[in-house]
């Protein structure tokens, strides 16, 4: 396996411009003859589909949901970053680049991250022109808010529904192209496999989720925009249908999987309430702008939080990190919450929660001001917990939120399989070992609107792509193998449900491959995952049949894939003998409990090649060394 990142030469700020100038173009007449498949209609997929269609390609788009508008991106709350410097607080492309690469703890490529910062401003322009109603100031110009990990205000927002508004903008742009006839949308169609002909990605196998039928689609290029794999953990903030199947099956066809162990645990979520819990709800990080995080100083504190006086409150973020305080990056905030709970200071019935308190903000700014900023989030909290956050502090706890790892891609966002591009959360590209708030929306849209449309065109112009027919044996083989997986699952007829297995897998992952990891923990996790996977294939109970709408069958094959991916995540976490960003190894910490990075040995992207699953996952590690020409690697400090 050869992993060439294909980073253009030249000064950082000129790489993308130069690359675009060098890109080969296709004439408009020619574009029409080329078909591109886009899988997924989140921010990355919808924006890519719309833009490619505007350029003239024929585009076929697939989503597992009943409408492209419902992709998981819809749930993003807080906002999207851009380097507009509208606040005149010293922001710039360089600063956004620097914060992002530093926030990612120097485990991403300089060139990719710089380009992300560079195109961020165009995203805002595009969205505003589409009618996305961002928050505005009295004068009618755009407003900004602050987010963790930055000292400037560069986050654009639509109240607490920024993802919804940006996704609807991209969705509408795509529906405009459906109207033009160049985009064909396939709803409730799940990609089950990638089809390779002569070593190139030339199509996909899908399942019509309504009829249960399996179908073949050919194309000149396939763009995977299928989101992240946080649901490996069972409980996460991801939408229930978010899954890793498309990415994992591409991996099994030869696409390298990069940095699988980099998982972001978001510090401000509503704590678990019981076994029946099906997902976790995020409280936007923007709340940390005004809320103060604390726990009682005394372990056996029994008083109501409002009755606990100042001297008995431990504002641990403010004390430990005076310059960033409650706005430290997510990994630092999550880890600190776990540490205080491990010390026995946690609150609530389970002891697995900390307070996020708005008392002082309300006193300072008035209830009305806080309500105007966070009203919908407060309502959401109250609806779920039955507690009133205007009157008593919220209880929050970290939850799995985002996966920085994903399929390996080069500067063109192409995987090591020619013709397979990967955009949005599904790739590993820009966030290193930790993603800063408000930068996933930026990355998804930057990939989809402004990068992939160019680079896919370049690929198609450059490469010889003889017509393929879906009658080709590669299609037949892939179809057959997808069907076999379903038949095998349905034939087990065991005693445990898919959800029971998934929940157990999630618990192993959360306990041992979660906020902090240790050699022993990871080794035992690998054993436990293997044993549970074997049991799954002997004892899972999948109801019904494959030839009609059957959600539990969908879950079953997604969970089957999680069982393999989970092992890879643990293997990667074990291999990475350092702490960086969200990856905290107990063995590698400073005396103060801060992550101890090891740039000498681990400044690389781990990229795994799939070799097989035979009781255990057979995999081969390849390393893409990260070169830092423009920034100096520093120990992050938010003190």
């Amino acid at each position: 396996m050869k992993l060439d990142p294909k980073i253009p030469s030249g000064p950082l700020a000129e790489k993308w411009t130069k690359h675009r100038n060098d890109i080969h173009l296709l004439s408009p007449n020619n574009k029409r003859k080329h078909k591109v498949i886009v899988v997924g209609t989140g921010l990355a997929g919808a924006s890519a589909a719309a833009s490619l269609s505007e350029l003239g390609y024929s585009v076929e788009v697939f989503s597992i949901l009943d409408s492209p508008r419902r992709a998981h991106s819809i749930a993003a709350q807080g906002g999207i970053n851009a380097a507009k410097n509208y606040q005149n607080d010293g922001d710039s492309v360089w600063r956004l680049f620097y914060d992002t690469i530093k926030g990612g703890d120097y485990r991403s490529r300089e060139a990719n991250v710089y380009r992300l910062a560079e195109v961020s401003n165009y995203i805002i322009d595009q969205a505003v022109a589409q009618g996305v109603p961002f928050g505005r100031e009295y004068g009618g110009l755009l407003d900004n808010r602050s987010f963790g990990g930055a000292q400037v205000s560069r986050t654009f927002y639509s109240r607490g529904q920024t993802g919804q508004q940006l996704l609807l903008g991209a969705y509408q742009a795509m529906m405009k192209e459906v109207h033009s006839g160049r985009v064909k949308m396939y709803n409730r169609h799940e990609m089950l496999d990638l089809v390779l002909v002569d070593g190139k990605a030339r199509g996909i196998i899908t399942r019509d989720l309504v009829k249960g039928t399996v179908h073949r689609f050919e194309a000149d290029a396939v763009i995977l925009c299928t989101g992240g794999y946080g649901n490996v953990f069972y409980l996460s903030t991801n939408a229930k249908n978010s899954n890793a199947t498309a990415a994992w099956r591409c991996h099994k066809r030869g696409a390298a999987f990069a940095n699988p162990c980099f998982v972001q645990i978001h510090p401000t979520c509503i704590p678990v309430s019981g076994d029946y819990q099906s997902k976790l709800t995020l409280m936007s990080e923007s709340l940390r702008n005004d809320g103060r995080v604390w726990v009682p100083r005394n372990k056996d504190e029994k008083r109501h939080p409002n009755d606990i006086p100042e001297e008995d409150r431990y504002y641990y973020l403010e004390e430990k990190y005076p310059s960033f305080g409650n706005l430290v990056p997510r990994d630092v905030a999550s880890r600190s919450a776990k540490m205080v709970c491990d010390e026995g200071l946690g609150v609530g019935d389970t002891g697995l929660a900390v307070y996020l308190d708005f008392r002082d903000a309300i006193k300072r700014d008035s209830k009305e001001v806080i309500e105007a900023k966070y009203g919908n989030l407060f309502d959401m909290y109250q609806n779920i917990t039955d507690d009133n956050p205007y009157e008593m502090p919220m209880r929050i706890f970290p939850a799995v939120h985002y996966t920085m790892g994903g399929l390996w891609v080069d500067y063109n966002l192409m995987s090591n399989i020619p013709g397979l591009f990967v955009a949005g959360e599904a790739n590993f590209s820009d966030h290193g070992a930790n993603r800063l708030g408000a930068s996933a929306l930026m990355q998804g849209l930057s990939d989809g609107y402004f990068i992939v449309p160019y680079t896919v065109g370049n690929y198609i112009a450059d490469v010889d792509l003889p017509k393929v027919s879906t009658e080709h044996e590669a299609f037949a083989e892939a179809e057959d193998s997808s069907k076999k997986i379903m038949d095998k699952l349905l034939a087990v007829k065991g005693n445990k449900t898919v959800i029971e297995f998934h929940r157990e897998l999630g618990k192993i992952m959360w306990d041992k491959v979660g906020i902090s990891r240790s050699k022993e923990g990871l080794e035992s996790a690998i054993k436990e995952i293997r044993a549970l996977r074997d049991e799954f294939w002997e004892n899972v109970n999948v109801p019904g049949d494959a030839n009609y709408y059957n959600k539990y069958l969908e879950f079953a094959y997604r969970v089957a894939d999680y069982f393999e991916l989970a092992e890879l995540m643990a293997i990667d976490a074990l291999d990475r003998g350092e702490s960086c960003g969200c990856h905290l190894r107990d063995e590698y910490q400073t005396e103060e409990g801060e992550a101890l990075r090891n740039d000498k040995e681990y400044a690389f992207v781990s990229a795994y090649e799939f070799l097989g699953v035979n009781g255990k996952l057979e995999t081969k590690l390849h390393k893409e060394q990260l070169e830092f020409e423009f920034v100096e690697l520093k120990q992050r400090s938010y003190k």
């Binding site: 009943d66 409408s67 819809i74 749930a75 529906m175 099906s278 609107y449 109801p543 009609y548």
Partner: protein, 248 residues
């Protein structure tokens, strides 16, 4: 924490061609902290263990934003709580021994796929007809060149928060999609960016709505009452006004 027993009457239908009927289920051990959909998950786990077909229902985000869920609960789209999607409803709303009737949203334009799952692609076709501002990627002017008064922007935002669930259609005695369509028209038509295509958009979307087999709006306002995000029927008035302006 007390656990409840809930009696369920759930609409079961194999597919669009096969007639459906209500089935009764008794569910023990329901916690007040469970969400309504988690309660259905538990029902399904029981059904699977008994070798029966689980109840199919749509959901994704489970936090009231994606618009996937839209079941009709005791005769009301999304259930009894004001401005609350079915997935945000919690079992603390109910009492031990209650009977809950659950059925799909019923409308000619939303054919049933299975049990509580319906086909709402008519909504996508209404958007496709004109629910956008035609601006190509890369062609947008600098964002602050288009100032929008804060009030206008807030108003547009309120309309733009429609989650496309179809609760309004289920609630309307005429199965009208006026609230959904009006919300998108009012969002885009209220903004300066939306002006050039204002007439064309309004006519195309309203015509498509009729083509899809949704009924007319007779001002019952049932839609506004069930809408989980509180879309105001003022959007329907705006749509009518703009439609009349556009065709004369």
């Amino acid at each position: 924490m007390s656990l409840m027993t809930i009696n369920l009457k759930v609409w079961r239908q194999k597919n669009a061609e096969t007639p459906g009927k209500f089935e009764d289920y008794k569910l023990d051990g329901v916690s007040e902290h469970m969400s309504f959909l988690e309660m259905l998950d538990v029902l399904n786990e029981n059904l699977i263990k008994e070798g029966k077909d689980p109840v199919e229902f749509d959901y994704d985000c489970r936090e009231g934003i994606c618009g996937s869920c839209n079941m009709v609960i005791n005769g009301r789209a999304h259930g009894p709580k004001h401005k609350t999607a079915a997935c945000q409803l919690h079992m603390r709303t109910y009492n031990d021994g209650d009977t809950i009737v659950i059925e799909p949203p019923r409308a000619a334009a939303f054919p049933i796929i299975k049990d509580l799952v319906v086909d709402r692609s008519a909504f996508d076709r209404i958007i496709e007809a004109g629910g956008y501002i035609s601006v190509k990627t890369g062609a947008a002017p600098e964002a602050n060149l288009i100032p929008v008064p804060q009030d206008t922007s807030n108003e547009a935002f309120d309309y733009a928060t429609c989650i496309g669930c179809g609760g309004c259609v289920a609630a309307c005695p005429n199965s009208s999609a006026a609230l959904f369509t009006g919300a998108k028209i009012a969002h885009l038509n209220s903004l300066p960016q939306g002006q050039p295509e204002r007439d064309k958009r309004t006519v195309a979307m309203v015509d498509q709505m009729a083509k899809e087999g949704f009924g007319d709006c007779s001002n019952y306002a049932e839609c506004e009452a069930v809408c989980p995000v509180g879309i105001s029927i003022s959007s329907i008035a705006a749509m009518r006004r703009d439609y009349i302006k556009a065709i004369f």
